[in-house]
Every structure is written in C-alpha cells, then in structure tokens.
Symmetry: D2
Subunit: 306 residues, 4 copies
Amino acid sequence: MSETNPKQEEETMQIGMIGLGRMGGNMVQRLRAAGHEVVGYDRDPEVSDVEDLAELIGRLEAPRTVWVMVPAGEATQATVSELGAMLEPGDLVIEGGNSRYTDDVPNAALLAETGIGYLDCGVSGGVWGAEGGYGLMVGGDADLVAHAMPIFDALRPAGPRGEGFTHAGGVGAGHYAKMVHNGIEYGLMHAYAEGWELLQTGGVVTDVAGCFKAWTRGTVVRSWLLDLLVKALEEAPDLAGVDEYTTDSGEGRWTLEEAVSKSVPMPVLAAALFARFASRQPNSPSMQMVSALRGQFGGHAIVRSE
Amino acid sequence: MSETNPKQEEETMQIGMIGLGRMGGNMVQRLRAAGHEVVGYDRDPEVSDVEDLAELIGRLEAPRTVWVMVPAGEATQATVSELGAMLEPGDLVIEGGNSRYTDDVPNAALLAETGIGYLDCGVSGGVWGAEGGYGLMVGGDADLVAHAMPIFDALRPAGPRGEGFTHAGGVGAGHYAKMVHNGIEYGLMHAYAEGWELLQTGGVVTDVAGCFKAWTRGTVVRSWLLDLLVKALEEAPDLAGVDEYTTDSGEGRWTLEEAVSKSVPMPVLAAALFARFASRQPNSPSMQMVSALRGQFGGHAIVRSE
Amino acid sequence: MSETNPKQEEETMQIGMIGLGRMGGNMVQRLRAAGHEVVGYDRDPEVSDVEDLAELIGRLEAPRTVWVMVPAGEATQATVSELGAMLEPGDLVIEGGNSRYTDDVPNAALLAETGIGYLDCGVSGGVWGAEGGYGLMVGGDADLVAHAMPIFDALRPAGPRGEGFTHAGGVGAGHYAKMVHNGIEYGLMHAYAEGWELLQTGGVVTDVAGCFKAWTRGTVVRSWLLDLLVKALEEAPDLAGVDEYTTDSGEGRWTLEEAVSKSVPMPVLAAALFARFASRQPNSPSMQMVSALRGQFGGHAIVRSE
Amino acid sequence: MSETNPKQEEETMQIGMIGLGRMGGNMVQRLRAAGHEVVGYDRDPEVSDVEDLAELIGRLEAPRTVWVMVPAGEATQATVSELGAMLEPGDLVIEGGNSRYTDDVPNAALLAETGIGYLDCGVSGGVWGAEGGYGLMVGGDADLVAHAMPIFDALRPAGPRGEGFTHAGGVGAGHYAKMVHNGIEYGLMHAYAEGWELLQTGGVVTDVAGCFKAWTRGTVVRSWLLDLLVKALEEAPDLAGVDEYTTDSGEGRWTLEEAVSKSVPMPVLAAALFARFASRQPNSPSMQMVSALRGQFGGHAIVRSE
C-alpha cells in the first residue's frame, strides 16, 4: 500500500462496497489505507462487515455512495435493482464490474426514477492494482464524478490524476473505454505469445526466457505485460504443464461486435479472439472439413481420430 | 475416359512419362485414350514399361518429348539433371510436378546448355482429372508449347482450349500460376469449412448436410469443391472420425511468401495456412502463453495439461 | 426461362408477390412461366398489378399464399405487420428477403396470433436466378412447406429437389442458412480476389485473364464465382475503372456476430469483411496511428496528407 | 545521458564506429559518456572523425573492436567485406545494423578466414536509446561477447545486465532475436491502433486522448509504446494531417517468412503487416475484384474510379 496519494487523505468519505472478492476486497483495503470509511458487504459472511444490503445502507449516512463490484451480468443487474428499491434520492451508485456498456444507460435510467445517481467505472490492473493502484475509466455526469473523486483518487495510482484516471464521457463511457482497453489487451497478449512461440520453435535463440527478460528495458516492446511474461516463464520454464485452453470473459467479443457494428477493421483482435476459441476445441470442425476435402480431391490421407 | 477431345486423335505423338504414381499413371491412360504412344517409367518395376531412363529414351524417336511427373524437390531436380545428361539437342522436357516456380529458370538453363527445350506445367484436378481432364498452366517458349500442344489437348478437358489450358508466360509461369491456384484453393476450402462449422455449431439449421447439398445448384457459392464437400459429408456424416490434423504440400507457403515479397495483402490465405499449422499442434504454444499471462494479471485459473 | 421443371406445371397455385424489384420481378416471371397465377404488388404503379395490398389480398382466394420480397429491415417488418392485420386464418406468408434470422420468430409469432402461417426463405442466385433457378433455403413447419412446394419447385433450378432447395429447419432456419451462405460467399470472393491481385502484381504470368479463364474447367478452383470473375475481366480488362469501394448488405456482419456468439473461429470471413470496411476508408485511422507511432520511436518519416 | 552505468567507467575500451547516422551517432555519444574512446567514421565528412576506413583502423590499437552501424543489406555487406580485407587476426567486428539474421553466418565465415572475430547485435530503442540506453541482443561466441562487454554495458540501460542485454545464442541469434522483437512490435502497434480507431469512431468516449493517457498507469495495457501514443496524440490531436501511408523496413516480412518456414501461426503479425501493405495502395486490387464480382451476380452498383 506504499503508493497511495497522500493529499487525498485530507478529504475522506464514507462508502459501501458490495462484493468483496479478489477485486472488491483489494479495493476496500486500498480505500481504507487512504483513510476512507468503508462498509463491505459480501454474500460470504466470513468476509462481510454486514449481514445484508439493508444493514449496509443503514450504516451509511445520506447522501450515500455505494460501489457495486459483483460479477457482470445477472448478479450486477440484480444488485442495481435492489439498490434502486432501497436507496434514497441523492444517493450514488458506482457500477465497477466488467459489465457491458450497453447495460449502463438502462441502469442509470432505473435509478434516476428514484433520484439516485449512477456512474459506471471500468477498473483495470487485476490483482496488482491493490498495491500500485487501479486504472479507472468513469462514465456519467461531471458533478457526480466530482463528488466521488476522493474515492477514485484513492483507488488510482499515485501521481498526476490524468495518468490512471479518466472521466471518459457520459453514462456507459467508462465501461466502453474498459471494453476497448480489454480488446487491445487481447491483441497485445497474442503479439507477445506469437513471438514467444516463434523463438521457442526457431531454435536459433538458445536462451528464450533470457531474451524476453532482456527486452524489459531499453526496447520498443517493453511493457507491463512483458514483465508479467518474464515472471510467468520464471515460474514455469518453457511453460511446461500449462495447457492451451483459455477462456474469455466477454469483453473481447463485445469489442469485436462493436467494431463490426461501426465498420472498424480489427483483424488483430479477431485473430486473438479466434485463437482463444480454437484453444478450447479438442478437434477443430473447420479443419476436419479441410482434411476431408483434401481427401476428396487429392487422395491425401485423412488422419482418423480414435 | 468419356470426355476426350476427338479432334486431337488426328494428331498423335510419342511421349515418355517419368513417374507413374496417382497423377502420372492416370495421365498416361488419358494420353493413350487419345491415341498418343506413351512409354512410361517408374522406379516401381510393377508399373514401369521400361527398366530405366536409358531404355525409355532409347524407345523414343528424336526429337523426344519427356514428361517428368515425380515428387517435387529433390526427386524432380535429380530427374531433370539426369535427362540433361542423356537427352539430345532438340528434345523437350515438360516438368509437370508440384514444383516451386523458382526451380524452373535454373532447370531450363541447365537443359539449354545441351540444346534441350523445357516447359513447366502446373496440373490441377487431382484424382478426378483422369476422367474429366486436367486444368493445365504452361510456362515456356511459344514454339515449344505449340509443339507439345497435342499432348496438352489430350490431357485438358474437352471443350474450348482456353477453358482448361493456358500458356501462362515464360519459363516458370506455369508453376507460378499453379502456385497461386493452390493459394486460392486454401482460402476457398477454409471458407466452406468455417461455414460448415458455424452451421454445425449454431443448431438452427437441422439438416446441415442437406443444406450444403441444396447449395450445389442455383446459389452463388456453388462450385466443384462444394460438390466434393457434399460427397465427403455423405461418406462420413458429421465428419465423424475425421481428425483435424492436416498437412500442407508447400504451395500455400510459397504463395504467402510470394505475397509478402510483393507487398500483396493475402489475409484469407494466411488464415487458412495458419489453421493448418495449428491443426498439427497438440498444445498451442501461443495459447499456453496467453493462458499464463492471464493467470499472472488476473488470477484467472490456468488449465494444467496432464 | 429454359430450365424450369416441367412436372411442376401440373400442380399450379395462386400467389401474391409483394415487391417487384430486381429479385421479386424476376421471380414473378419464373413463377408464371411455370404456370402459377401471380398477382404482384409494388409501390411503383408502373410495375404493380394492383393498387394496394388490400386489392392484392382481394384478388387471391383463401387460403392465400403471399410472398414478401421487399428490402430487409423496416420495409419488411412493416409489410409483415400490415399482412397480419389484413390476412385471414389459414393464409400463409413467405418472407423471402435478405432478413436477419432473428426477425423470423417474432414475425411468425405475430402472424400466429391471427392464425396466419409463416415461412422464411433465403433466396440465392442474384440476377442469374431468373433463368437458371434460385437456390432456396426454407424455415418453418413441414406442412406449410409441403403446401407451398409447387411455388418452391418453380423457383428452384430444374433437377433433383435436394439440389437447389432445402427445408433447413424451423422458423428462422431459412434465413440462418442464407446468412451462413453469404458469409461463405464473402470468403470465396476474397480468396479469388487475393489470388488475382498476386497474379497481377507478380508479373510472372503474362496473361492473367487467360489464366483465370483456363481455371474454369478441370481445376480444383472452378466455380460459378470463377465464371463471373472471368466475365468481369472480359468486360473491364484489368478491372480498369473499378474502384475498391465496396458496400456490404449486412449478412457478413451477422454471420461474424453469430460466430462470435457461438465461439466459432471464422478468420477468413473476418478478413473479407474487414477488407470491405477498409475499402471505404479514405485514410485508415489505424494506419495513421501506426505511422505516428513509428515516427515517435524511430524517427521514421510520417507522410502528411494534404 | 543521465542513466549510464557508473561501474563501467572503470573498464574503458577503444572502439571504432562505422556509420554515424541517427543510431550510430547517438551510440557514440553514449559510449563516450561512459568513458570509452571512440573513433567514428561516416561517409559524410562533416560528422566523421577520420577520412576513411584505413585511417580509422590505423587509429585503433590491435586487437581492435569495430562496430558496423550502416544501412542493412548492400552497405553492410560491403563494409564487412572491406573490414575483412583490412583488419588483422584477433580483431573483432560487431555488426549492429537491422540485418537479416541469415547474413550473419556468411559474414562470420568470411571474417574467420583471416582470423577476425564476429558478433551480431540487434539494437532496440530508436532515438530514445541515446538517453535511456538501448536494448541489446547479441549472437556469437561467449569469449568475444565477454571481451566486448564494457561496450555493451555502456550502451544498455543502467540496472541489472539481464534487463536490457542478452547473449541470445550463436552467430545470427542477435539479429534473430531483433527480428522477432520487431515482429512483436508490429502486432503491439496495430493492437493499439485498432483500439484507437474504435474509440475515435465509436463516439461514446468523448475524450479519446485523455482515455489513452489514463491508461499509461495502473492498467494492463500500459507500455512504452502507449506512452509514445499519448505523445503522438498531444503533438497532433486526432492525428490530423497524418497520412495512413506506412513503410516497412523488412523485419516484419522476415519474421512472417520465418514463421511460415517453421509452421508457426502468426495471425497478429500477418494482420499488422498486411495493413501496412494496404496503406500504400491507392486502390486495392483485391477489393476492385470483390466489387466487380458483386456487380456480376447481384447487380450491385460498382463505384467507378475517376
């Protein structure tokens, strides 16, 4: 917690955090380290400060600020609905999950019916954000953003506010920015991964892990992801024991769909996303067909699966 | 052999065929059906008409025409070299294998040293060419092409000469045309294969094989490859038992390398070629790295391979 | 109109056709040539047989069959709604436009409220279908399909019913099949297009148009699209005067979105679709950024646009 | 020159630098700041310390170390040849240009004939390396690497040697590593560029430049290239005036060719490279063909170029 922003300690707030998992739990610690008063709620009573949402709301003074940090989709929607029924005019909900940006306008409209404010916030940094701070992208009205700024300042990395925080636009813009951020991330990861495969396969560079480590400083390709890649190779030399099977949490798909709807070519993202799909196929149907076709016209041998 | 070109029977030739495998053997039958006199040589004495190249050459009257139809690469180069040492000025070598076009100019130069002519010929049609005729793409001097035309006419499909045969250009142009033909073929096959995978996976179309069959007439996507696809699905419903593992014989790679050297974007070919590479990887190294990276920053679970 | 199916002439029907544009107008001619009685309606009084939908419906005996062949989207939805208010129980609507398959279940439900049947039909073949017949993919209940079969038989190519026609599945399956058909079409066209560009650029094949013409028979890549390509090169040698600017009518996008939602890798389709997007960009924003980045780290010269 | 490695100042060397352009010139300054004695030669007498190669060699005491930093290809090959004829047994040539790794083994063999040592060195960091140090990847014998280590230590960034420097393997491994490094760089740049295009086009994020700036700290996508992107947007808001036209210096092509020869799928690199090719085409031939094909079957309007 070494890199919090000292000046923010002067202006502290009260906040409710709903969802104390890997992300929410770490964020609470970072907020408390900055002097904020946090009441946390989680379905798991082991980690929860309160028994239920009603108690959480009761423990906060109006106007309240509540941060929702639960799994995107149904869980988030259910929580926002409940808050709409329980909070009061003037309260503020910050939706910080990995939600699709198209959920935000309906969420904001729902809460506005009872005078509750709404901000959406994309949060980047993963498990490392606890220490160094999270990259934050916020969507919503400027006055609500200003009101919650002490919270954002505590969560973002120390240093100039514009590096690590952006008020990206109106409602939805925070999650939109996070969506594109993750789409870029897909491409970056796959670019490194391809290069690693070629170095491993090529056989010319004899110390592949050392080569990646050497790239971490001075080169054009240096980055935080590269630092993680070096760490991964140290933990599992040659990635022995790591399976290709890779899931996706939706943001790559949403980005590609948004690109398609806006006529924006994103071949790098598409390639990275398709490689994930393929990593989960034990026997690619497309390639079964290519093999079968070659067998038809060329008499090429078809490999039979067991 | 129902579709040979009757008018060609008037002008028959003598030809030596070296290599009596799936392609060469079928071509000999088609040539003989058209009235040509063929002496065939193969390393396998079971199928060979002569004991060795010397006997083959001895059985042909000068000026001789010899068609080389052996595996591309070393075998073809060795055969051309031997012919260069054994044939006489005025003889003609037609190199019809799946060779890289860059081999042709050196081959022609070698043979020209002793006054031997050279044509390169790309041959398409696979095992089906025996009956319907082969698509032929020829490179070399026009007078040599004219000389060998009765041979080409016998091999190509019946009908207008320009449909099924082209004198594509100078030495190498025949194999160059065949290379690009195969590069296109990669893309066509993968386009159908992708579509099949989506139909299979989508679950909306209940008779997928019937749908492909319906596309064979009247639609924009009808083609000979589609006919083969329908046949493949009839032989192996849902392609059960077909493994994704698919080899490549080099022409896709050559086409992509040529595209790179000429600054021509060929994303469709690249995608189809990379999918073949991936089909042979039991555990994609690139995706191992993507999985490892996600594990680093997000605490996403990594699947361990056994 | 030389290739209609003679046996169908025995069983003729009455049908209303809404939309007499390039597709609908041609289909009416083909239906009439097969002996069916067609009443056509179009907003353009010059081509319309009736003044309005009411008159069209009045001219048909119950139970009526009405084919909707108007632009996909709003126009189609409006027409289906109007028909729902005007037709009677037992009537049948066939929606044959280039609609998204997700529209079909709502359409069918709407019409079912008043006892009207619904079939969706994907129609392929373009302007050539008038003469050779259209490839048809139909979704909906089997009894409705059987009822309308004389119509489908008249529209499809002569020959076995399963080649040119498929009952693809339940409501929506016809448009789903057509969507995937068009997705495949994108890839096929781009595969040929890439190959053409390489042949043109490579400079080794001296008669590029002749080479494509030669591929139309005997080769693995022969297809109807290849025939059209040859025709296009005959009409505009080297495609002089043709601009790269290419629109898309939506089906490629829908197919890619469906692939993304079903985790199916479709890199060939994506490449073909992105190339269309790029063809409409006078100055690619992505490449502006790449150029700007290179200028930053390498001091590479940036080209300034005027 | 604030970040040199102080401990290296104890062990200083004499070195000749051939080529005093943007890279070589900066490197000389960095070497001199570290206490090394550098004699520089350039064809441009304004910047050269000596009149010709002979004088440069005369000014160095044997055993000499000479760094070649001239344009890759002919200029580099000519310089290595000249040095082979002028240097003495025991001298060392370090080839630091952006050369293809396949040149290195022949270069080393040529110099070995007269007892001259050879190292190849990939240098990354561009114009920024002067201040922060260059990322170095070296190929060749370990004893030669050890001998030249004071030079490498002066050029690389301050800090642990393994971060910023790697002895990547035998002769050629340095340029091989640099080749793959640049291949990765293509993908990284395009990933950011795509994301930028989507943010710009999407219209949801209202402060796009601010969003990228916010990503520079705390996020998963932070990197040095991202810092440069932010700088580029500050210098040219919305990249106004920047043309899409982007050249390539060969390393992306070499990486893709190596991937093809090693059966390694690199779709991200391929996409980035093809986008560069396309950026230089005023009228994409592929898309001309797609447009022409659509005109054939669908009667879609073809846009005519002027």
